[in-house]
Symmetry: C2
Subunit: 198 residues, 2 copies
Amino acid sequence: MLIAEPLQRAIEELSKLPSIGKKTAQRLALHILKSDESSVNALIQSLSDLKTKIRFCEECFNISVAEKCDICLSPKRDHSIICVVEEASDIIAIEKTNEYNGLYHVLGGVLNPLANVTEEQLHIKELISRVEKGGIQEVILALNPDTEGDTTSLYLIKLLKEYPIKISRIARGLPIGGDLEFADPATIGRAFIGRITL
Amino acid sequence: MLIAEPLQRAIEELSKLPSIGKKTAQRLALHILKSDESSVNALIQSLSDLKTKIRFCEECFNISVAEKCDICLSPKRDHSIICVVEEASDIIAIEKTNEYNGLYHVLGGVLNPLANVTEEQLHIKELISRVEKGGIQEVILALNPDTEGDTTSLYLIKLLKEYPIKISRIARGLPIGGDLEFADPATIGRAFIGRITL
């Protein structure tokens, strides 16, 4: 097949991205080819800035442009609560709710022996040293409700029990707008176990 | 919400691309953020090369790196047949079949009075002058089988009838692997009209 080499290569590079198949990559490459130069430059610049301007907060490992992230630096946030999440993207999801006003701590993954992820690869000791420094009253575990997330939560609970702080985990139950009839038994079971007295 | 500005901007730029929504853009941006520098640079370089290294063939308006595209320059192709397509992406689709070995001509769209696309905006006069130059024995029309494609085909047939060449149109019928039961009536009708004596 005789496709111009730069187009072929752009398609290959784009199709390496998650959820982008060969066909979508081709559509994107042809779209970029047809777009005016300024919008393509804006896209390229924004991708390049991602790698050069973004670093990770040295306190909580959130995405940041400075040594510490905006959340850690904000005086409006409650600095006595830490919410532990797997990835920085979870912070974006939680921030969208406007329900949480404390700090975060990004583990950078969850314990997964099959994938060779051990406690040393996660930011667990940094979490413990934040708690040791004092001033923390509560640690909320907000890991994904799956086997690895639960295992990691149990491991963290064991470590955190050594300190005089409240440890909590975000609730499991029926999702808002969900339908009891179509919910899986495990979720309904959790909803019963976690029922709240009114 | 406190998302680092470069991340926010990359998400915005990515979500301007076709078929990329806000959620996918966020996933892509976070993926790029986590990728190693060399693979991000390869992606950026390939997108930048798309705009700087690619031009359009001055003969057939296919995507090209030189004045003329590889297909127009190839001595292995049959230079007596021109296949007329709407967009350069159609050439990629046809080349994948390995069924066609002639040249192409990219119109750059189809006649569409509602979208203000008239014959002047398409590469129609360039097609006619290629035919006028001589050496062409057949023009195959391979425009999309929709109203605008059909209108444009009829317009081209009228113009090309002036020259002593064969004019053809690619077949319409049931797609390979398709199911007669679920095909639309127009397609089945076309399949009957275009039936081949065995």
